[in-house]
Amino acid sequence: MTFPRDFWLGFWAGFPFLLVIIPFGVVFGVVATEAGLNVSQTMGFSILVIAGAAQFVAVQLMVENAPVLIVLATSLAVNLRMAMYSASLAPHLGQISWWERAVVSYFMVDQAYAASILKYDDSPEMTPRQKLAYYMGVITPVCPTWYIATYGGAVLGDVIPPTLPIDFAVPITFLALIVPMLRSAAHVAAALVSIIGVLAFSFVPFNLGLLLAALLAMVTGAEVERQISKRRVKQ
């Protein structure tokens, strides 16, 4: 490892996500095996797809006996946001080698993206190699634990009492990342449009409302930034 300091900073940034990864991995293992998947298929999901929300959607649709094409289209729509993460990371990690970018892409889960982009925007002096070390640090506690927790759930069955509000670990971890990102009026405006947009587009099927809301929010953020810098130039 070329930049151990950045790696460990990333590692400790990724560590609290275990609060989400462990219960959700276990729940996925339980849900998937109860749906009729065997252990290797359940692990296939967590290792090959490695995307919490899309995995749950796919298994749910398979239980409902949806056609294979519908299962694929709907679950991939849930993962379309990953293409936006990919574009957002490109200016930071575009210079690393092709196979390293492939590794980054395989591990591109919400937590890895959010924790890394928060760090990159706060530390513009980081080199692409330092950014890569940080990213690998974040995913080190997160992704292997996802596999292990899935296996635990698939083999041990339900060990988490169903009444506990563990579903809410997801919004809590993301709130902890989003609030520090609201560093300018443009960021706040984008976040507000994202929230209002997703509620307004809640009728749009296949989770595409989120994508529409996100695109509108990006345009809003960019436009507010442009207006503010224009005003600054005039003054």
Partner: protein, 110 residues
């Protein structure tokens, strides 16, 4: 479930490949090429454009309560935001938010 073993593996492999290609898409194609300033300006807002919209329905209409507004979850969300503004530390915020969530869960009458 009526899907055969082969069909299940087909779903897993296609979904895995599709997700990987979505993740690789821009990072793979753009690489080290310079992007125009207007595009970079939009990409700067990706995280704040996706994440708040992603968690808003989870906070307001949790699936676990059948979409019912839930004081425990709303209270935990408000506390999490407050802890984040106060401590400016993501780790403290996550553990603090989880602490408030479980405290409210066990203290508030169901």
């Amino acid at each position: 479930m009526t899907l055969s073993d082969a069909q299940i593996w087909l779903v897993i492999i296609c979904l895995g490949a599709g997700s990987f290609l979505l993740r690789l898409s821009f990072l793979g194609i753009i690489g080290s090429r310079d992007l125009p300033e207007w595009l970079l300006r939009h990409l700067r807002y990706t995280a704040v454009a996706v994440m708040p919209g992603m968690i808003t329905p989870m906070i307001l209409f949790p699936t676990a309560t059948g979409g019912q507004f839930d004081m425990v979850r709303i209270g935990a969300a408000v506390a999490t935001i407050a802890i984040s503004l106060w401590t400016r530390n993501a780790t403290l915020t996550i553990f603090g938010g989880a602490g408030v969530l479980f405290a409210l869960h066990f203290l508030l009458p169901a």
